[in-house]
């Protein structure tokens, strides 16, 4: 099998990743821009329109079930079911959470397992903040809707600030990685590819066409993993050349580094940034449940809703991680230019996180409103 036959040409792959990032990222952002040049009636079409219809349908059904549960306890089961489906659909619409998580995953060396964990953690955290806010503000303090709106506003600013920080850090790290890959390409081209050291030399020595030389992926799975790790290390081994940066290797963290406690800590910063802002629907449902004397049903509904949300976000995150993994695979076979491309994609994704954060913070990109007016 040739590298082209197995799957995608790197160029179409890059297009695919760009499309993916655009979709989950820019589309979400775009959809949230305030009206420019005077408001117009919203036109909602296509898949997004369909998702909105479903969201609204389940959201209304949610309120209906709470109303019903007041007189009929068995409606609680229906409430849980609808909460779950609502969570799935709610997360399928535009929203900055998915955009940030996906971009974060694209920018980093993440496994799909970690992608799913981060998605679940952020969704569960979102539920918990909603419950905490309503619990403290409404139940304990007897606060008004305005107070709650203001509270959410403050939380929002903190959350957006965190997104800016996470994005800035990622951009710094990934940008340096890009610069380094670019420099490697310019100065010592044969050193820049994965498995470069020996493979390239072998290739040069044997004068074989590239498709016939030894490649990482021709080994069996286990060996491949080890070899890949070793190759990765070689790729990053700049001992023979002067370092561009006095502090040494400034590019992205190694996969094994990320798997350690430090990597998780960085992951949690993304979770915190995204999960802090509770979803408006959950808050209104909780307050409504409270008004009906069914606060605990509301809490259960919110948690179940979070699980539904997690499933959608995890699906999108898996796509992002899958696209990244496949990109790496092909890019590494391509050698120096591939590495540059990979670093460019990472840098782009990192920049996207930062841009989301800045736009959200500056108010150019609106997130869900809480109080209508």
């Amino acid at each position: 099998m040739t590298s082209e036959g197995r799957c995608l040409h790197p160029a179409s792959l890059a297009t695919l990743i760009v499309a993916l990032t655009l979709t989950i990222g820019v589309h979400s952002a775009w959809a949230q821009f305030g009206p420019f040049g005077g408001p117009r009636p919203p036109m909602v079409g296509g898949i997004v329109g369909w998702v909105f219809v479903k969201q609204a349908m389940f959201y209304r059904a949610l309120a209906g079930m709470i109303r019903l549960a007041k007189s009929d306890g068995s409606a609680l089961w229906g409430l849980m079911g609808i909460s779950f489906v609502y969570g799935i659909f709610h997360a399928a619409g535009p929203g900055h959470g998915k955009a940030v998580i996906s971009s974060y995953l694209l920018a980093n060396e993440e496994t799909w397992r970690r992608g799913i964990t981060l998605s679940f953690a952020s969704a569960v955290m979102q539920s918990l903040t909603a419950v905490t806010i309503v619990g403290v503000a409404a139940v304990l303090l007897g606060a008004t809707a305005k107070f709650m709106g203001d509270t959410v506003r403050v939380i929002e600013i903190v959350s957006y600030g965190l997104i800016v920080l996470v994005g800035a850090r990622l951009l710094w790290v990934k940008g340096l990685g890009f610069v380094r890959a670019w420099r490697d390409l310019k100065t010592v081209p044969e050193k820049a590819s994965l498995c470069s050291g020996t493979d390239q030399r072998q290739r040069l020595a044997s004068n074989k066409p590239p498709d016939q030389v030894y490649r990482c992926d021709q080994a069996d799975a286990d060996a491949r993993t080890h070899h890949a790790a070793a190759c990765e290390h070689q790729d990053h081994n700049h001992d023979e050349e002067p370092d561009l940066f006095p502090w040494g290797h400034a590019h992205g963290p190694e996969p094994q580094e990320l798997a350690g406690p430090g990597g998780w800590r960085r992951g949690w910063s993304a979770v915190l940034a995204v999960g802090l802002r509770p979803c408006s629907g959950a808050i209104i449902v909780l307050v409504f449940a409270l008004a009906q004397g069914l606060f605990w049903a509301g809490v259960a509904s919110t948690v179940v809703m979070g699980l539904g949300t997690a499933i959608t976000v995890a699906t999108i995150a898996t796509l992002a991680v899958g696209a990244k993994a496949i990109a790496k695979r092909f890019i590494h076979e391509r050698g120096g230019y591939g590495i540059v491309m990979l670093r460019a994609i990472e840098t782009g994704a990192a920049a996207l996180v930062l841009i989301f954060g800045v736009l959200l913070l500056a108010g150019y990109m609106a997130s869900e409103r809480l109080a209508g007016f």
């Binding site: 408001p39 919203p42 036109m43 909602v44 369909w50 899958g322 993994a325 109080a371 007016f373």
Partner: protein, 226 residues
């Protein structure tokens, strides 16, 4: 590399799905989420004796979920009931915040979109229906200058679609003191609110699953005075 291998196996379908998602990204929308508030509209257009329109009087009834949210923390003498006086501070907050949203009310004179034609609201208050658990906001928007346009169009909608406005079933629009030859017509986005309960069953019919296509949520009032 597990992800990559999974990706390779599922390639054709997954890539197709991804393509579809990407396409939907192109169809950008301004609405950012589904509505969280439902408001049933009744509107009166107020006329001066000379036949000009002086203002728009709105009566908006909110759904019980949002009403519960809006009334939380408001002290009431009788539990579960709110008097107009008890709700007045909230009404104040409402009309003040509504300013940021152009009162969700957009005017066209002879088909031409107008900006900044309303003064601050007057005669505003809220009342609460304890049976339905619904809050109703009353307010009047005076025109800065009385309107003499032959064709006056008032549209009520939330561009961000956080609030789903819909005309009341019966007599949603009234002309108060209008010359006899004036005629009024209303245009709903489509039948009823975005999703009022009676439409709920309809939405479950798969053939109507695409009602999201090209939706226009504006509630339009047109008055012709030849």
């Amino acid at each position: 590399m597990t992800g990559a291998r999974l990706w390779l196996r599922a390639s054709v379908l997954t890539r197709l799905a991804l393509f579809i998602v990407a396409c939907s990204g192109v169809i950008a929308t301004k609405a950012q989420a589904h509505p969280h508030v439902w408001a049933t509209i009744r509107t009166e257009l107020l006329y001066a004796p000379d036949g000009s329109v002086t203002g728009v009087r709105h009566v908006w009834t909110f759904d019980d979920g949002y009403s519960a949210f809006a009334t939380m923390g408001i002290a009431a003498k009788t539990k579960g009931q709110f008097t107009r006086e008890e709700l007045q501070p909230l009404a104040q907050v409402n009309v003040e915040s509504l300013k940021d949203y152009d009162y969700f009310t957009y005017a066209k004179f002879n088909g031409k979109r107008q900006q900044d034609v309303f003064n601050e609201p007057v005669d505003y208050w809220l009342d609460y229906d304890p049976q339905a658990g619904e809050l109703t906001l009353h307010f009047t928007l005076p025109f800065k200058k009385p309107v003499t346009a032959k064709l006056l169009t008032i549209e009520v909608y939330d561009p961000e679609f956080f609030v789903d406005f819909g005309f009341a079933e019966d007599d949603p629009v009234k002309l108060v003191g209008a010359p006899a030859q004036c005629t009024v017509s209303t245009e709903k986005p489509y039948d009823g609110n975005f999703l009022i309960s009676q439409n709920l069953n309809r939405s479950f019919i798969p053939s109507e699953a695409n009602i999201g296509m090209g939706m226009d949520f504006a509630n339009k009032i047109s008055v012709k005075c030849p």
